[in-house]
């Protein structure tokens, strides 16, 4: 079979919950291994090997948790909105599950970004919190996540909940460019980007490499925890189908 036919076919097969449940087990395991390796090397590089910053001293090291979680908070929201949109348009069950399983992880990363930022801000700016554009828009993002989760739990029918949530996520996507460009649009207390200038990053290599490792660790952590959540959700979705009953053993009384 040539590739042009095989690839779409595989993609459709991936959308089938049973097939996804089977292969995600293997993927999840390997991704977690990568996550642990990146996390350990990234932390060692960031906390031990990287030199202290000439202005901020050792306290800049919290960046290795703060920056990846801030990136992840935006990234997961985009994943949530896009997969929600896919679920809305093509009614792909898996996309709906991805969207609703992403929300709690995204909310956690957003909270982490805010909390580490506050801990960083105390020695650097002399205050836990300032009402500047980036902090405020990140806080709005947290409330968008929480609103999404609240909406999900308000419906009894999961599929209706997923589609209603997708609309909310798509409306809230307006906030993403505001967060991303807030540092450039308004001159605020939060420092400008130092990494995204790819041609000439204003960050030294010995600091950059641990940061990238930590980013990869956060991303793989997201993927592996997302897969775990998806697998649970699939079992709940399909609890009446024969393959789940077979999997769980017939003696167990599956509720819901």
């Amino acid at each position: 079979m040539n590739l042009y036919k095989a690839l779409p076919l595989w993609f459709h097969k991936l959308g089938a919950l049973k097939y996804f449940y089977e292969i995600s087990h293997v993927i999840s395991r390997w991704v977690s291994v990568i996550c642990v390796i990146c996390f350990i090397t990234g932390l060692y590089g960031g906390l031990v090997l990287a030199p202290a910053d000439y202005q901020q001293g050792d306290s800049f090291r919290i960046m290795y948790m703060h920056v990846p979680s801030a990136w992840m908070s935006l990234f997961i929201y985009m994943v949530m909105a896009i997969s929600g949109g896919i679920g809305l348009i093509w009614r792909v069950k898996l996309a709906e599950i991805v969207a609703r399983s992403s929300a709690p992880i995204g909310a956690t990363f957003t909270f982490l970004a805010l909390a580490t930022g506050a801990i960083w801000g105390k020695p650097m700016w002399g205050t836990w919190w300032v009402w500047d554009a980036r902090l405020t828009s990140e806080l709005i993002l947290l409330f968008l996540y929480l609103g999404y989760i609240a909406l999900q739990s308000a419906f009894e029918d999961r599929r209706v909940a997923a589609r209603a949530g997708a609309i909310l996520a798509l409306v809230g996507i307006v906030n993403i460019p505001i967060i991303h460009y807030s540092v450039e649009w308004w001159s605020t207390l939060h420092q400008g980007p130092t990494v995204s200038k790819l041609d000439k990053p204003s960050i030294h290599m010995s600091m950059l490499i641990p940061l990238l490792l930590m980013t990869l660790a956060c991303k793989t952590f997201y993927v592996s925890s997302l897969l775990i959540r998806i697998r649970t959700e699939i079992l709940e979705y399909e609890c009446n189908s024969s393959w789940v009953k077979h999997l769980l053993g017939n003696n167990k009384n599956v509720s819901n």
Partner: protein, 224 residues
């Protein structure tokens, strides 16, 4: 095309008539707005300089809360008596009819709110530039509040608890609040407010074009 315009005005007229027959629904959120604003001078004392600094923010936040309270009226009665289903089944675009309903909500709530806000501004001794900025930001933002609000109301219609509605809606209102308050602060400091006004106008155009489509989609999902 002519037919569509006619449908728009028929629904607009229907909603306005319904509200004027049942005036409590239309007056209560506005009463709430005035009463909450009056609470603040009572709480803070009648120090004129302090009030001057706080008043525009108080008016704005209270306007948001009153909007959230008033929003349920857009679809609630229609949902209860089943007219929403009839609208969805009708052969005219739902987007059009939804925009007529949102327009009706703005006329019965947003428009009076702007004038009441300016009046309360007089009582709370705002300067004329601040009042001017307050008027313009409210004029540009109240339609946005109605439009965005309609989406979330459509999503949560029939679910118990107005609490969920306010949880979903207030984060979406925050950007509008931020830009409006920037404009008001600039006006108080005697600076130009054109940048914020343009931004609010941009948000209004975006909401005006996309929100009715989204609201229609949300209603379809909710009643599927």
């Amino acid at each position: 095309m002519n037919e569509y315009i006619k449908i728009f005005f028929i629904i607009l007229q229907r909603d306005l008539t319904l509200v004027f027959r049942n005036k409590a629904e239309f007056i209560n959120p506005l009463m709430f707005f005035v009463i909450v604003i009056i609470l603040f001078p009572l709480a803070f004392g009648s120090d004129a300089t302090l009030l001057k600094q706080l008043t525009s923010g108080i008016i704005w936040v209270t306007a948001l809360l009153a909007t959230v309270l008033s929003l349920e009226t857009i679809f609630r009665t229609d949902f209860e008596d089943g007219s929403i289903e009839q609208l969805i089944l009708a052969r005219y675009p739902l987007t059009l009819m939804v925009s007529a309903k949102v327009t009706a909500h703005w006329i019965i709530f947003g428009l009076p709110l702007i004038f009441i806000a300016v009046l309360t501004g007089f009582i709370l001794s705002l300067s004329s530039q601040t009042m001017f900025a307050l008027f313009f930001t409210l004029l540009l933002s109240t339609p946005v509040l109605s439009l965005i609000g309609a989406i979330t109301v459509a999503l949560t219609i029939g679910l118990r608890g107005g609490m969920l509605l306010s949880l979903l809606i207030l984060p979406l209102y925050m950007p509008v609040l931020i830009f409006s308050m920037l404009a008001v602060q600039n006006a108080t400091a005697g600076q130009s407010i054109s940048a914020e006004i343009y931004f609010l106008a941009g948000i209004l155009v975006l909401a005006l074009t996309l929100a009715p489509i989204t609201t229609a989609a949300a209603l379809r999902i909710r009643l599927s």
